[in-house]
Amino acid sequence: MRLFLLALQLDQAARATVPTVTVGLLILPGLLPLGAPWLSETMPHFAMIAVFYWTLYRPDLLPPAAVFLIGLLFDILAGHPTGLAALTLLAVHVVVQNQRQAFLLRSFPIVWGGFALIAAAAFLGMWLMTCLLALRLVMAPAAVLQFGATVLCFPVLAWGLVRVHRQVIR
């Protein structure tokens, strides 16, 4: 009986880590050497979508410290200015957490629109910070392209995350 309880607890603990693990895994596509230049230029910011989704639907399972550390890891491995993605993902996390009531129980297009707004602010922030740190103007079209790809990918990835949410975390 005791062993069964322990197994149950372990099972629950493992399920609770799923949001953090998915966010962590979703930084990988942005790092992999994928050949064609257009592919890495338009690679969507999948981790941002995952942070948005989990903060909206299971904020209890995605602590801000995890968001910060995954962002920091992304920065280090990608060669970004250290802290750029960490700050952006943390900001997305805080904004979504404060605006949860506005999104919960709403139809999907409204959630999608909300994500587009938050992502636009996040990309604008990243672009401004990159320009400020380098004290030069970075090409903006590439950032707009990546933002567009991220917003377009939202429904597909959100669908996948809903599956994970229902099947694994329950």
């Binding site: 990988l28 942005g30 790092l31 992999l32 050497p33 994928l34 050949g35 064609a36 230049p37 592919l39 890495s40 230029e41 690679m43 801000p64 410290a65 910060f68 962002g71 920091l72 890891l73 280090i76 491995l77 990608a78 060669g79 970004h80 200015p81 250290t82 802290g83 750029l84 960490a86 700050l87 943390l90 900001a91 996390h93 805080v94 990243m126 672009w127 910070m129 990159t130 740190l133 380098a134 030069r136 103007l137 970075v138 090409m139 903006a140 079209p141 590439a142 950032a143 392209l145 990546q146």
Partner: protein
Amino acid sequence: MALRPVTFTRVVQPVRSLWQRFSVASMGVAAFALMLLGNADNVIVERMRVGVTDILTPVLLVTAKPAAMVSSGVEWLTRLHDLQGQVDHLREENRILRQWWHRAVTLEQENETLRRLSRFVPPPSPASISARAITATGGPFVRSMLVSAGRSHGVEPGQVAMSGDGALSGVVVAAGVRHARVLLVTDLNSQIPVTVHGTDGTSYPGILSGDNSRTPVMRFLPHGAHVSTGDRVVTSGLGGVLPAGLPVGQVTSITGSEVRVRPLAHWSGPDHVRLLRYDFQKVPGVVP
């Protein structure tokens, strides 16, 4: 009056509530501070970056394998499109290259004779280390890659990374034990002293400066420089960091005073790179 027993909860509780209140704010401040420190090339931040990347290099080596498969699949699909056009293009290129081959053989013989006559001592050829790209970031915020060779293989910051087709890819900016980071010529922070060779025999010095787009910009060209599209861009060797004469790219567009260069190196992908180690002390005529 009896003292209340000091329990773990009593000590931890205030710290925990304080952390809960300020944790997000303090992490935000930490991220911002790291950004500023990292920008100022702080040693501790740099060591942290290199250390963390070194630990994760084995993981990235594993994940780079399926990426290579995806990449070759994408390449295959892109090639499939317009096969006839590519065949025609290759035929034309082959015809031109054959003419060049005859010329190259003649020039090589002539060069050999002249070298013998003038008792020329050639500079030592550089030692090279081949490595695989394990990450490549080509987004709007950074253009760099991690390669699978580090200090344990003889890689040091400052070494030149050449693509498989023999063009300059970038420069090693950081090296860990098992990995090195190559800053690509297209990155915002890349500034490379180059020479633009015109078809009419003229050449102008300048700095090739990346801006996170596919085509870096030529800066500090001399006033009145006559540059046209198709001109070759090679490293000038000025500053002593890079050797002279490495092929970099071709001028592709001139709009007003803005001259843009398309790098020859196929910079993104699971390509292997060659890291060249030049020992400047041994090369005659080069000031380190």
